[in-house]
Amino acid sequence: MISLKNIYKYYDSKFQRTFVLKDIDLEISEGEFVTIMGPSGAGKSTLLNIIGMLDEPSEGEYYFLDQPAHKLNEKKKVEFHRNFVGFIFQAFHLIDEMTVYENIETPLIYKGVKSKERQGLVADMLDRFNMVAKKDLFPAQLSGGQQQLVGIARAIVGKPKLLLADEPTGNLHSDQGKQIMELLSQLNSEGITIIQVTHNEEFAKYSRRIIRLTDGLISSDNISN
């Protein structure tokens, strides 16, 4: 599903080139649950952003579902975001001016889903996450764990093939974190490919494959059963 070949990411300052990612080769197939780990500044988030097409590699080729993603134009990238990927963030990133319901609905609107169908899909999500009673609340009125639930609901309401989670539990305490991780592995078992970035060894164990990055290089790639 995802194939990265010789991916480099660097920043040029006056006399110096700072490398963030060096020569990354990575294959991720559909249905995997991958964790990217490593110390701060190792390039984890950059790698995730490149996979999510929020960022572009400086060099290298990236194929998503056998399409050359590094050659996609702005419009195609928007299509990609609409149809294939969902994002979950450490800081939740809900829109303050929108209720829970509307936040979940947002991607569907951009996808052009009809109003009736949207209502059904959002209602399903609210049901699944037990948030029906909270649907008219604003993000500021929710706890951190609940906000992240809304974030996940928003990420998966459009039925993406790939879910990218950048430290989804980073702002949560451990009970809430556990709950979120269980939800993610459940989603994975339903067939969504998940790539997460985390510092937390315990939460890394929810996934079957752990990639460790050090200074922009893949230092280990373990697949457990």
Binding site: K75, V78, H81, N83, E97, E105, I109, Y110, K111
Partner: protein, 783 residues
């Protein structure tokens, strides 16, 4: 989709009330100005459109070349010209002659003075003034017939059904009856020709045989040009019609289209802006104010969008395309614009009477007019796009990556742009303030200018036939009021123009030459009243019985006559011969916009429309009532309307221009300050942490205010640097229009800058003080 956009937009606006209110106010004011200006322009451009032949109507006018090469426009032409025009120019389908005049109508013991016209009987065929009753258009063919307006019919007969009734016109002691043969609807205010009655021109010609003389100034000529005819060709044909009769008259005829009459005028033989001037001034000022309002919006929006940048990033990640974000933001802008437009419409309704009375604009405002709806739509759309597009582009350029990483978004790349907006916003009020003060200076200069006569303590009242008839006893009665020194009947209010004559001859004159002279008809007291600067000889005096046939001339006229010793020489004016007994100097008979004109003063009772009263002691207000008592004794029917000479409306209409510039600069300054204070509140809040840290390190409230003030001072100084040369140039161009003008006053530049700077700093100081006086602990905790 739109519904969703709107919902979040409204929530955002409700949560940020100061921001919304500021934007709303600025846009409302801006749009109000734009609407009023558009209505004003619309009004000017809809003049005379109701005429069926609007595009084919032309006034035949003449340009006269004066002895020194000066050229001026002459509208009234000889009544006999119609024959030449008809014979030589077949392209003129019809010609009608019009003579405007005021007449006194009586009905029982009541009497009214009405303004009307004498016109040829084809007048109502050429122009489309609709008849209320009477039907066919030959209503004004018989000698003693009259067509009146509905307004006048109601006044005279209290009914509009008055065909066949008789209107009585009182001229001195003579009364004459006219049969009413038609009633026309009231002449629309958007008509160049304004009148309440029409009397056959033949009636006028019967009483004024001189009107037929070649070169006479009696009738206005209106011509209906046949379709598809070439105006330049006609102009070539008619140009020399008068010259061919009398070479020396030096008058060239041309066609002045009706559709341009309200917009243009001729000065010195060149076409100049008349109404067009106000179209341009109103238009430019309103556009500038609207721009300020939009820039405010942009500035505040960009400042505010730092908060919304994240939202845009999230939406992009959720699959929003760039255009969707632009579209959403534009929708939001249009919501604000539409709400403020509604408010503007209310404001316009409230303000229109004020504008009409202040600027004599004659604007009306109805939503029912599709042109008004178009204007409103155009203003709303342009405002929305002008103010919404830039912030929308900025917002949509949000890079989701940096936003979501939690980086603090700074709009550095836009800060230069935003500062230039502020600079521009302040350029406009500074220029307007300075320009207004230059206009005021010139106005005062003209009022106080030594025009070769004494102009203070001079009262002007209109002459009437009754007063004229009792000249002697009126003067005796007025002079018996303590404080009044002189009472003079004249046709010339100094510097307000007078009668022009080309029938002046002198010894040594080339007999074929006909030059124009400004002639003042007056009495023995004119000099006592205005105190002429007589350099040679003397003024008329009762002790010289021969003076009734004598003249005073000014130095310019002496130059034209080429008399080195003019005293005792003989000249003849309008066929009346007499001796020159005095020469005066530096006297402005016309106005300060033009040069000195050759002027001749004679003792003559003709055409004396005004009475000048000079007083030496007492005040205007105390004398006014006493003069009224005398006035009523001789003229019980007219209302008494005296004016102090200095209060006369300025000849060049400077009051209106300076009022306009004043109002505009007030609004512009208000808007610019609103925007600046809005921005100040955002920048103060974004610097809360910095201020907190500075204060914990020992900065005082005052030093923080200074720090914030310096930032604004820099922008303001740049805008002053840009504004001053613009104001200087505008001021120079404006003053150059006047032949006699004040030097460009330098103090107004200093004053303009100081005023703007003070007001601008005051408007930000509240915000600065609030930020600076805050407890630093609180500020840092807040962060």
């Amino acid at each position: 989709m739109i519904r969703n956009f709107l919902k979040t937009s409204v929530r955002f606006l409700m949560r940020n009330k100061t921001y919304s209110l500021l934007n709303f106010l600025c846009l409302s004011f801006g749009q109000t100005c734009a609407i009023i200006a558009a209505l004003y322009i619309l009004n000017i451009f809809s003049y005379d459109k109701f005429h069926k032949n609007y595009d084919r109507l032309y006034q035949v006018e003449a340009i006269v070349t004066f002895f020194n090469g000066d050229r001026f426009l002459k509208e009234p032409l000889s009544a006999s010209l119609v024959g030449d025009l008809n014979a030589n120019v077949p392209e003129l389908e019809a010609i009608t002659r019009v003579v405007p005049g005021g007449l006194n109508f009586i009905n029982g013991d009541r009497s009214f003075t009405e303004q009307g016209i004498y016109a040829d009987d084809n007048f109502l065929n050429i122009f489309s003034f609709p008849m209320a009753s009477g039907g066919n258009s030959n209503e004004i063919s018989e000698l003693n017939t009259i067509v009146i307006s509905e307004r006048m019919a109601l006044k005279l007969f209290e009914t509009t059904d008055c065909i066949g009734k008789t209107a009585v016109i009182k001229d001195n002691e003579k009364q004459e009856a006219y049969k009413i043969t038609g009633v026309i609807r009231n002449v629309p205010s958007q008509s160049l020709l304004q009148f309440d009655f029409i009397i056959p021109l033949s009636k006028f010609l019967a009483g004024n045989p001189l009107a037929n003389e070649t070169g006479a100034s009696s009738c206005h000529y209106w011509a209906l040009v046949s379709e598809n005819s070439d105006i330049t060709k006609i102009n070539n044909k008619i140009r020399d019609l008068i010259k061919n009769q009398e070479t020396t008259l030096n008058q060239e005829l041309f066609l002045f289209p009706l559709r341009e009459k309200i917009l243009y005028n001729y000065a010195g033989g060149r076409r100049v802006w008349d109404g067009m001037q106000y179209v341009v001034i109103f238009g430019c000022i309103a556009f500038a104010i609207l721009l300020i309002a939009c820039f405010n919006f942009i500035n505040l929006a960009v400042a505010m969008n730092i908060k919304r940048y994240r939202e845009a990033g999230i939406k992009k990640v959720a699959g929003a395309s760039r255009s969707a974000i632009i579209f959403q933001y534009l929708t939001e802008t249009f919501v604000i614009t539409a709400i403020s437009l509604l408010f503007s419409i209310i404001l316009v309704r409230l303000l229109i009477p004020l504008v009409n009375s202040q600027f004599n604009a004659g604007i009306s405002f109805t939503i029912a007019d599709f042109r008004v709806v178009l204007i409103l739509a155009a203003i709303m759309i342009s405002t929305g796009i002008l103010s919404g597009l830039l912030p929308a582009l900025y917002l949509s350029s949000s890079n989701p990556l940096s936003v979501l990483k939690g980086e603090i978004v700074k709009s550095h790349s836009y800060s230069f742009f935003r500062q230039s907006l502020i600079v521009f916003q302040f350029v406009i009020p500074v220029v307007l303030i300075i320009f207004m003060m230059i206009i005021k200076t010139q106005d005062n200069y003209m009022r106080d200018y030594d025009m070769g006569f004494q102009n203070d303590k001079l009262i002007v009242i209109g002459n009437t036939r009754n007063l004229e008839a009792h000249e002697g006893s009126l003067k005796t009665d007025l002079l018996s009021i303590p404080g009044i020194e002189a009472v003079s009947f004249t046709n010339c209010i100094p510097a307000r123009g007078t009668t022009v004559s080309n029938e002046v001859t002198w010894t040594g004159k080339d007999a074929s030459e006909k030059l124009h002279f400004w002639c003042i008809n007056t009495d023995y007291q004119y000099n006592t009243a205005i105190n002429l600067n007589i350099t040679d000889g003397r003024y008329f005096s009762y002790s010289f019985p021969s003076d009734s046939a004598s003249f005073l001339i000014n130095d310019i006229a002496a130059g034209v006559f080429e008399y080195d010793e003019p005293l005792g020489k003989t000249i003849s004016v309008d066929g009346k011969e007499g001796t020159i007994i005095g020469v005066f100097k530096d006297f402005h008979s016309v106005d300060l916009a033009g040069p000195f004109a050759p002027t001749i003063i004679s003792l003559s009772p003709a055409c004396r429309n005004n009475i000048l009263i000079r007083f030496s002691s007492g005040t205007y207000s105390s004398l006014k009532d006493k003069i009224r008592d005398v006035y009523i004794r001789y003229e019980p029917e007219m209302s008494f309307a005296p004016t102090l000479y200095k209060d006369l409306p300025s000849y060049s209409n400077l009051d209106m221009s300076s009022d306009l510039a004043g109002t505009a600069c007030f609004i512009a300054l208000l808007l610019a300050c609103l925007g600046l204070s809005g921005l100040a509140s955002f920048s103060a809040s974004s610097r809360t942490k910095e201020i907190g840290i500075r204060k914990t390190n020992g900065a005082t409230t005052l030093s923080v205010i200074k720090l914030l003030g310096i930032g604004y001072t820099r922008w303001l100084i740049i805008s002053f640097i840009i504004a001053l040369p613009i104001a200087f140039l505008l001021g120079r161009i404006f003053l150059m229009r006047f032949y006699f003008h004040s030097p460009l006053p330098l103090w107004v530049f200093v004053a303009g800058v100081c005023i703007t700077y003070t007001i601008a700093l005051l408007s930000v100081s509240v915000q600065s003080w609030r930020a600076a006086s805050r407890n630093p602990v609180e500020a840092l905790r807040y962060e």
